[in-house]
């Protein structure tokens, strides 16, 4: 049996699976039900400033029969009375002393307000705090949520206020609605935070009804930007997670990161952890399927860990981070070319049209005579011309039919950064042409 337990800056959890601060973590009823079904922790739905909600609150995107690949919301923080929330938080902690109960908080930008809510919440015996600097709608217009997360000075200042009074670990939750997420991450670290979590939802408009011209979601005829979440945001979340996890200043501070955004299966979890997350948080997938999805997350991750000989999650957290590099450091001498497995090819010729219309015209169609008397066309790659862009392999509908195989390029193995250092003259087109000739690089 593998060990899934984590110690997240002092917050102990039987496994890395936490409910994100959102509707599934709205009440004691829900959080306790989730714990019973296997969730290791929960970040309570954000409490703080008084609010009023609207309906409808959600808009979604479906794709070719799959429901909710993305979900946007115009919901605010918890609209339940604060005392009810605090009472229920203590109750959950009493019933589940070994699970992680973290309370998300957000109040207006005043020192007294922040320190007061932290002190009040501390009495619930919760395991830690998450500061919601990310909510992109409703609260931001009131100077809270992403309005704080988008201003590094604010982020640092509020974090400091909280650290002055907090006796439990503090996590700062970052907004993705910013150009470089490393900047607010460093600000939170400078403010003394114990940990980071990311991402909150992304600004979005979901769509327009073509009959009524109303927006989705439609709030009595009006609509507006809302926070986008669900599996469609996963690649964005992974990028932001890895850039924060790879940042040298964050690494020096040794703050763990809780990964959020589009997590639905154990495979997603493994990817987030390989890119540096110590715990993960889930909202949309639970909103779609219920708490029960955690069973396969636990089972699938455990089976995968066993197959890779990992005993604890610490054996692979951040394992893929060193592979994250940047364009200037890629090997220009590495070459791959498309190879079609003709035994698997079904001759849909999608690879041909993709390469021909949108890549480099390196696939030819050849004809073959069929027994029934008609001719069929099948694709053949001109390997020498193939630039290895991988578009054909991406469109091919048959598993493992087109593979990108490494081929000898007969080119120098050098990176762009090394090249312009040793031969700065290639930044002129005529010298670049000369270099290409010499280095066996032919582009038609």
């Amino acid at each position: 049996m593998v060990d899934l337990s984590i110690d997240f800056c002092g917050i102990k959890s039987p496994n890395p699976f936490w409910l994100a601060s959102a509707p599934p973590a709205n009440s004691a009823y829900q959080v306790q039900k989730a714990f019973e079904q296997g969730w290791g922790g929960a970040v309570w739905k954000t409490i703080g400033a008084p609010v009023l909600n609207v309906s409808n609150r959600y808009g979604t995107i479906d794709y070719k029969g799959a429901k909710i690949i993305g979900l946007n919301n115009v919901e605010l923080i918890s609209d339940r009375p604060i005392n009810t929330n605090l009472k229920e938080i203590s109750e959950v902690k009493r019933n589940f002393p070994n699970h992680a109960v973290i309370v998300s908080v957000m109040v207006e930008s005043k020192k007294e307000a922040w320190q007061e809510i932290i002190k009040r919440t501390q009495e619930t015996n919760c395991d830690g705090f998450e500061l919601n600097f990310g909510c992109p709608h409703g609260m931001s217009e009131r100077g809270m949520g992403s309005a704080m997360g988008q201003d590094p000075q604010y982020t640092q200042m509020v974090t400091q206020w909280v650290m002055e009074v907090a006796t439990k670990p503090v996590i700062v939750k970052l907004t993705p609605n910013i150009t470089d997420i490393v900047v607010p991450a460093r600000a939170a670290v400078a403010g003394g935070t114990n940990a980071l979590s990311l991402i909150n939802t992304i600004n979005s408009i979901m769509g327009v009804d073509l009959n009524t011209f109303e927006l989705r979601p439609n709030v009595g005829g009006k609509g507006g930007h809302g926070g986008y979440a669900g599996m469609a945001v996963k690649p964005i979340a992974l990028h932001m997670l890895s850039s924060v996890a790879n940042d040298s200043i964050i690494q020096q501070a040794k703050v763990p990161i809780s990964g959020i955004g589009g997590i639905e299966t154990w495979q997603d979890v493994a990817e987030f952890m390989l890119l540096g997350a110590t715990s993960v948080q889930v909202c949309t997938a639970v909103m779609h399927w219920g708490f029960r999805i955690v069973e396969d997350m636990i089972d699938g991750l455990s089976n995968w860990m066993e197959s890779k000989n990992f005993n604890t999650v610490y054996d692979f957290i951040g394992k893929s981070l060193p592979r994250i590099s940047s364009f200037g450091d890629f090997d220009l001498g590495f070459k791959s070319a498309a190879k079609i497995n003709q035994d698997k090819c079904i001759q849909c010729n999608l690879c041909f049209i993709a390469c021909n219309d949108a890549a480099h015209q390196c696939i030819d169609l050849q004809s073959m005579q069929m027994d029934e008397g008609f001719q069929k066309m099948f694709p053949v790659v001109r390997e020498n011309d193939c630039v290895g862009c991988a578009l054909c392999a991406s469109v091919c509908p048959v598993n493992d039919c087109i593979s990108m195989v490494e081929v000898e390029s007969h080119r120098p193995h050098i990176t762009w950064n090394e090249l312009i250092k040793s031969k700065p003259e290639v930044l002129e087109w005529d010298k670049m042409e000369e270099y290409r000739q010499k280095s066996n690089i032919h582009i038609h």
């Binding site: 799959a66 219920g290 029960r292 699938g300």
Partner: protein, 465 residues
């Protein structure tokens, strides 16, 4: 290169003998399984689960296929049904899980059986041991018969820490899964692999050991803390018409195609089969695939009364089997070598009276006719194990119409040590592999509660007192 020529999969006359006896449905490819799994809605409180007699958590196992956690998927199945690989192949899914699938109304039901087979086959081919039995609890249980009921009971008990020994009168374990289900539905290897998995849980299986011949019930009662009877039913009864010695027992006919070299089997040209249940259909389709020119099912009632499933009827028709309804053989004509030459049959008419909801039929006067036939196979039900039943009766156990009577919540008989399940208790309802598995599970749970939980309670009372 994938050539887009229609395969001759459905034209059995173009296939070699070996190919005709391969599984009718090929395994799902990874892509097929994934695509099909993603179609499942992952319903909450899903109707498919309720329609599975063994309560397999179908949405969960299908979701695990979709997330490529196939090992976990197999575990989810086997937790509820240790013979999931057999059931995936033989269950009448249209009547059970797939019949209840919510996708049936909007689209097509999910192929639950084929997905179950995909996961179980993965588990079997990777030889995965999913369960670690609890430490030995000191109790010994004897199981008689290693069909689905006996094996399921044995496996569940072994998981709970019992010392389990199975006694089987045949030389191979598995019951009808090994000897009775046609090969192109379930190959023998699948059944035997499941037997191995049960043995891997610590179950001992003694083959060629028959109750009533090699040992007695009293010995079992004396030497074991509990006994489970999963003895199924017996051979096909005699037709009781003149010259019925030449008749072939349908079950033996099927068994031969499962365990003998197909090329050595003798087969007639004009074969008649008496009966219209599952066994009759199986005999008929096998006879056809073995190369018989003409295969005809003789049934004394009409289509509407046939006990086989409708999809089996359709399958037989598509295989080229002929049906003569309202027809009954009344005697057999032999040639001078003693070989069967033809049948004398009589036409029947349906009456208005019914038995068990099926209308009865009576011979039409002066309607006899002669039907050429060189091989007659009977599939008109199964005999009861009367010796054993008499013996049970003497122990105070109720027997009704040849079936052992048990409490339906525990499968315990009136004798506190003796439990029973499977076809030998199926007085009412469809006899099926999956129902037999559930019987075995129910008995195992009751045996655990009556022996282990009761002991724990006793100790508690002692400690408190």
């Amino acid at each position: 290169m994938v050539e887009h020529v229609k395969s001759n999969r459905n034209k059995i006359w173009e296939l070699s003998l070996e190919d005709r006896f391969k599984e009718v449905y090929p395994p799902l490819s990874d892509k097929e399984a994934q695509t099909e799994a993603m179609r499942c809605l992952y319903c909450y409180d899903a109707p498919c689960i309720k329609a599975c007699p063994t309560d397999i958590d179908i949405p969960t196992f299908i979701r695990k296929i979709a997330t490529a956690n196939v090992k976990g998927s197999a575990k989810t199945i086997l937790e509820s049904n240790l013979l999931g690989g057999s059931c995936a192949r033989v269950c009448p899914t249209q009547e059970l899980c797939e019949g209840a699938c919510v996708m049936g109304s909007e689209h097509k039901p999910i192929m639950i059986g084929r997905l179950q087979r995909y996961a179980c086959d993965y588990s079997a081919s990777h030889n995965i041991q999913h369960f670690k039995p609890l430490p030995n609890n000191g109790f010994k249980v004897a199981i008689v018969g290693t069909g689905p009921a006996g094996l399921a009971c044995a496996g569940e008990l072994a998981k709970l820490g019992f010392d389990v020994t199975c006694f089987e009168k045949n030389s191979l374990a598995g019951g009808l899964s090994t000897y009775g289900i046609v090969v192109f539905r379930e190959p023998v290897e699948v059944s035997l692999a499941e037997v191995k998995q049960i043995e891997a849980l610590g179950v001992k299986i003694e083959t060629n050991k028959a109750l009533g011949k090699d040992f007695t019930l009293n010995q079992l009662i004396k030497n074991y803390d509990a006994v489970f009877l999963g003895i199924g039913l017996g051979n096909v009864p005699q037709l009781n018409i003149p010259n019925d010695k030449v008749v072939i027992d349908g079950l033996e006919f099927i068994a031969a195609t499962k365990i003998k070299d197909l090329n050595t089997l003798k087969i007639g040209k004009r074969i008649c089969i008496v009966g219209a249940g599952n066994t009759a259909i199986d005999c008929a389709t096998i006879a056809k695939r073995l190369g018989a020119q003409r295969v005809t099912i003789l049934y004394r009632r009409s289509e509407a009364e046939m006990p086989c499933y409708y999809f089996e009827y359709e399958f037989a028709l598509s295989e080229g089997v002929g049906f003569m309804f309202l027809t009954q053989p009344i005697s057999i004509n032999l040639d001078f070598n003693g070989q069967i030459e033809s049948l004398n049959c009589v036409r029947m008419d349906l009456q208005n009276e019914s038995i068990n909801g099926r209308r009865i039929s009576r011979p039409v006067p002066n309607s006899e006719f002669n039907l050429p036939c060189d091989m007659l196979i009977t599939a008109i039900g199964q005999n009861k194990h009367h010796d054993i039943l008499d013996n049970l009766n003497q122990l105070g156990i109720d027997i009704e119409s040849g079936y052992i009577m048990v409490d339906k919540h525990t499968n315990q008989t009136k004798h506190p040590k003796i439990y029973a399940g499977g076809d030998c208790i199926r007085l009412k309802g469809e006899a099926s592999t999956v129902a037999a598995v559930q019987d075995g599970k129910i008995a195992a749970k009751a045996i655990y509660e009556n022996l282990v939980s009761a002991k724990v309670k006793k100790v508690e009372v002692k400690n408190n007192g």
